[in-house]
Amino acid sequence: MQWEVVIGLETHAQLQTNTKIFSGASTAFGAEPNTQACEVSIALPGVLPVLNKEAVNCAIKFGLAVNAEIAPRSVFARKNYFYPDLPKGYQISQYELPVVGKGEVTIQVPAVGKNSAYEKVIHITRAHLEEDAGKSVHGAVEGMSGIDLNRAGTPLLEIVTEPDMRSAAEAVAYAKKLHELVQWIGICDGNMQEGSFRCDVNVSVRPKGSDKLGTRREIKNLNSFKFMQQAIEFETRWQIETLEDGGTIQQATVLFNPDTGETRAMRSKEEANDYRYFPDPDLLPLEITEADKTRVKAEMPELPEAMKARFEAEYGLTAYDAATLTASRDLAAYFVATVQAGAEAKPAANWVMGTVSAKLNAEEKNIAESPVSAVQLASLLKRITDNTISNNAAKQVFEALWAGEGDVDAIIEAKGLKQVSDSGAIEAMIDEVLAANAAMVEEFKAGKEKAFNALVGQAMKASKGKANPAQVNEILKKKLTG
C-alpha cells in the first residue's frame, strides 16, 4: 500500500520583550536561578498579573505577517494543572478566543536536485499568547529537585498549523520559514538551543488517497531542524510499519532521542490532564483596535513576500533567486548592500547564493558573520565587470578576502591576477601559440571544431590564465578564419 504522512506543527516562540508577560521581572536568559523571579513569578499569595503591552504588539506583528485575522477581543484563560515549576498551579494562556486567528505562510520546499523548489501554502489555525513555566533542575543537590523560576512568566506565542504538511521536508521547510519570519519581524531571537523557538510535531499516516486523518502522535523536544527531520522520518516509518504489521496507533506524546534517532512514547492520551480551562478573572479581555494594528504595522519591516516581489521587479531576478535571497532578513540585507555598493544585481545574486553561501555553510557561519563584507564583495564584482580579473581569478581573490589578506585591488596586485586585455599582447601571444600548434590549426581548418577550443586552452595556458578569455576567443577566431 502507498502511504501518506500528514503533519501539523505547534511552535512556541519566546517573545523578545524585556520583561515578563504579566510582571516587570526581566526575561534575560542565563541568570543565576531565581534571581529573575519577582513576587508575581513565584506566585506569592495576593499577587496579580498585568499584561505586558509589548507582548501584545509581538502577537499583532505576527498576525499581520501571516495575513491573519487579529481578534478585536480575545480572552486569557487559566489552564489548571499541578507541577512544581508551575508556580500558580495554572498557566495563563488563551483557549477559546486566541489573539491571532486563521492565517497562512508560503513555504519553498527544496526539490531533490539543485536550484529548484516548489511553493506551498501552509495554513495557520491560530496563534495565542501565554506564559512559560519555570524549570525543574534535577541533581544540582544530591537526591533533590530544584526549581528555577527565572523562566516562569516569559511570554510565548504558540503558533498552530493545520495538518497541511505531507513530508518531513515540508515540515522542516515550514519550521525554517517560521523561524526566519519571527526573527525577521523582530518578535523572537530564534535561539533553539536556549529554547526560544520550540516545535512540537503532530504526525499521522494514512493510505494515500484517503481523506480521513490517521491517529496522531505528537513529537516533543525537537531543538534543531536536523532532529526534526530525523524524528519525523523515524516516526513515519514506525507508524507505517506498525500499521502494516497489523497494529494500531495510539494517540500519544513521544520524545525524540537524538542519540538513537528514535521516538518513544512518553505518555498516552488516557493519562492526559483535564485542564479545567476558564477565563482568568484577574485579566480583562484583550481588545485590539484597527488603530493598534495600524500603529504596529508602521513599526514593521518590509515582509519577505513583498521583498521577494520587489527583487523580481526591481532587479530582474528569477522567482527562485528572489525567494532564496529573502529566506532571511540578513541575507536579503547583504544582497541589497552589495548592489547598493555598485555591483550588478544578477552577478551579486549569483555570488551571494553561490560562493558566499557555500563558504558560510562550510564554516557553519551565518551571513551576519561573513568575513567578506557586502562592500568588499561589490568591489570584487566590479573588477569582474570591468575586465580587470576573470571569474576564476575572482574566486581566488574571494578566498583571500575571506582570509583577511587585504582589500580587493591589493590582493589582485599581490597575486598578479590582473587580466591581460592589451590586444597587441594577446595577438602576439596567439601568434606564438598558432606557430607552435600547427597540427591543431590544420585540424580546425579541416572542419574539426573541437580544435578551436583546444587552441583557446593553449592560449589561456600561455597567458597563465590572465588573458581576457573573450578577447582570446575573438582574436583567435579572426586569425583562423580571417
Binding site: 513565584i42 506569592l44 499569595p45 495576593g46 498579573p49 498585568v50 479545567r276 478573572p281 485579566l283 480583562l284
Partner: protein, 484 residues
C-alpha cells in the same frame, strides 16, 4: 476616646490633646485585656505599631498630617503586609511572613495610619461565622456565646469591642456586611474595582472587594478616601478620578427614592429583624425619602450561582498552595504526588476543601457548560435585575443578614444553613455593586443591620444616606455593655 469618631481623633491628634503613641497604646492595652477572650487578632507586633505611631507623631508635629495620620487601624489578615505574618486564617500560611505590601496596606502607610495588628478571619475568607479559622473562632462582643459573622469576623469584633479605631475587611459574598450587621457597626463593600486587590489574598477574584469597617458612615468615608483609587498592578482596578467620599455626607435626603425588594422581605427573614429594618425605613420617610416596592426576580438564584462561581475561581486561586515554594509542607512524603496530597489535605480545613472540590467539579470537562457557563449566564441576569431596579429608585434597602448573631457551633455542621446567611448580600457581589450595612436597632439585645445597596460608583451617595440616618438616630453609637 475609644468611642470617638475618626474625625474627632484626628482633631485631638492635631491639637496635641493626645499623641498617636498614647492612642495606639490605649488600644493595645484593650487588646491585651480583651483579645484573649474575643480572639479578634491573630497577629500583633506592638513594637512595630508603636514605631509607626512615633513616626505619625513626628509627621503631625511637622504639620504634614493627613486625615488618618496616627490613627490605629486593624487589618484583616488577608492583606499582605511586609514583615507581618499573613495567614489568611489558614494552617497553610500559619508561618508565612509577607515580603511585600498589599495596595491597601501601602495606602494606609502612606496616609500615616498605624497598623495595630492582623485580624482573625474565616480560612481564606470562606465562611460566615469565623469558625473556619485555623486560629479558632471569634466571640461576638455583644454575646460571647455567639459568632461575630464572617468572614471578616476578627475585624468585626475589633470594631464592635473598640479594639481599634477602625478596621479593614473584604467582602466576596457578604463578608463585610453580614458581620457588620451581626456586630452592630457600619461596613461598606465598594463597587468591584474601586479598591485594588493587589496583595489581597484571592478567594474568588471576580467577587473579592476590600472595604472599610468602622463605627459610622462618616468614618467609612474617611477610610474610603485612603483605600480607594486606581492601581495599575490590578488589571480589574478602575481608572477613575480620585473622589472625596465625604463630599455628600450632609446632603438632605428630601426626595430620595428607596427601593424595597419584595424578595428581601419574604421567607427566610427573621420577623424581628424584618421589623427593625422596616422601622429604619420609616425613619427614612421622616427624613423625606419616598418608598417604592421593587423586585429582584433572580435573587433566589444568587446563592446557587455564587456556590458554583466562587468555588470555581477558588479551586484555581488556591492551587498555588502546593508546598513547593512557601507555606505549609507535610513533614513526610514518598514522592511528589504524595507531597501534594498530604500538604493540601493537612494544610486546608474542611470548608476550604469542600469548596476546592466543588470548584474543581464544576470546571471539569463535561460539567463546565452545565455549571460554570450556566452560572455565568444567570449572573448576568442577576446584574440586569439591579439595572432595572435602579430605574425606579436611588438606593435599595433591606436586611443585611436574615437573622441576628447565631450561637457558636449552631450552623457549623450545616453548610447550606451557613450559606443562607448571605441570602441578601451575595447578589450585590455578583453584580459588582456597592453595598453597606448600617446599625438599625436590636432584636433580643443583638444588633440588626440595615443594608443599603447603591448603583455603581454611588458610594458617596450611600454614605450620605447612612450618615443622615446616623444624625437622626444613635444605634451606631451603642456598644456592648461591660466592654466600655
Amino acid at each position: 476616646m475609644i468611642n470617638s469618631s475618626l474625625q474627632t481623633l484626628s482633631q485631638m491628634l492635631a491639637d496635641k490633646q493626645i499623641s498617636s503613641v498614647e492612642l495606639t497604646q490605649t488600644f493595645l492595652d484593650r487588646i491585651d485585656a480583651l483579645n484573649p477572650e474575643i480572639n479578634a487578632y491573630v497577629a500583633l507586633d506592638k513594637e512595630r505599631s508603636i514605631a509607626q505611631a512615633k513616626a505619625a507623631d513626628a509627621r503631625i508635629a511637622a504639620g504634614q498630617a493627613a486625615p488618618l495620620t496616627g490613627i490605629p487601624i486593624a487589618q484583616k489578615d488577608i492583606f499582605c503586609a511586609k514583615g507581618w505574618p499573613t495567614t489568611c486564617g489558614s494552617k497553610m500560611l500559619a508561618h508565612f511572613v509577607a515580603p511585600y505590601d498589599a495596595h491597601v496596606i501601602s495606602q494606609f502607610d502612606a496616609a500615616g495610619a498605624v497598623n495595630l495588628g492582623k485580624t482573625n478571619m474565616d480560612e481564606f475568607a470562606m465562611g460566615s461565622s469565623n469558625e473556619t479559622s485555623y486560629f479558632g473562632g471569634v466571640k461576638n462582643p455583644w454575646d460571647f456565646t455567639r459568632v461575630p459573622g464572617g468572614s471578616s469576623g476578627g475585624s468585626a469584633a475589633a470594631v464592635a469591642a473598640r479594639l481599634c479605631a477602625a478596621a479593614t475587611g473584604t467582602d466576596t459574598g457578604g463578608s463585610i456586611r453580614q458581620p457588620a450587621s451581626l456586630c452592630g457597626f457600619t461596613g461598606l463593600k465598594p463597587t468591584y474595582g474601586v479598591v485594588s486587590r493587589y496583595g489581597m489574598i484571592a478567594f474568588a477574584s471576580s467577587l473579592d472587594q476590600a472595604g472599610p469597617m468602622a463605627k459610622s458612615a462618616e468614618d467609612c468615608a474617611l477610610m474610603m478616601n485612603v483605600m480607594a483609587g486606581f492601581d495599575e498592578r490590578d488589571s480589574t482596578s478602575l481608572n477613575r478620578k480620585k473622589e472625596d467620599y465625604t463630599r455628600d455626607l450632609n446632603k438632605p435626603l428630601q426626595g430620595l427614592k428607596i427601593g424595597l425588594p419584595k424578595e428581601y422581605f419574604a421567607e427566610g427573614l427573621d420577623i424581628n429583624v424584618g421589623k427593625v429594618v422596616m422601622d429604619a425605613v420609616a425613619e427614612y420617610k421622616k427624613l423625606g425619602a419616598e418608598i417604592v416596592e421593587i423586585s429582584l426576580p433572580n435573587n433566589g438564584l444568587s446563592i446557587p450561582v455564587y456556590y458554583v462561581l466562587a468555588p470555581a475561581e477558588a479551586s484555581s486561586n488556591l492551587s498555588r498552595y502546593d508546598g513547593v515554594r512557601y507555606g505549609y509542607r507535610t513533614p513526610e512524603y514518598t514522592d511528589l504526588m504524595d507531597m501534594y496530597c498530604k500538604t493540601r489535605a493537612e494544610g486546608f480545613g474542611a470548608e476550604v476543601k469542600r469548596r476546592i472540590l466543588v470548584g474543581t467539579y464544576v470546571l471539569s470537562a463535561g460539567y463546565y457548560d452545565a455549571y460554570y457557563l450556566k452560572a455565568q449566564k444567570i449572573r448576568r441576569l442577576i446584574a440586569q435585575d439591579f439595572v432595572e431596579a435602579f430605574k425606579q429608585c436611588d438606593v435599595i434597602m433591606g436586611p443585611a443578614a436574615p437573622s441576628t448573631a447565631f450561637k457558636s457551633g449552631e450552623k457549623v455542621d450545616d453548610p447550606v444553613a451557613m450559606y443562607l446567611e448571605d441570602l441578601y448580600t451575595i447578589a450585590v457581589n455578583l453584580a459588582g455593586l456597592p453595598g453597606m450595612s448600617v446599625p438599625a436597632g436590636f432584636s433580643n439585645g443583638l444588633p440588626v443591620g440595615l443594608q443599603i445597596i447603591g448603583n455603581y460608583f454611588d458610594e458617596a451617595r450611600m454614605l450620605n444616606v447612612a450618615h443622615q440616618y446616623q444624625q437622626a438616630t444613635d444605634w451606631h453609637l451603642k456598644m456592648p455593655e461591660g466592654l466600655a
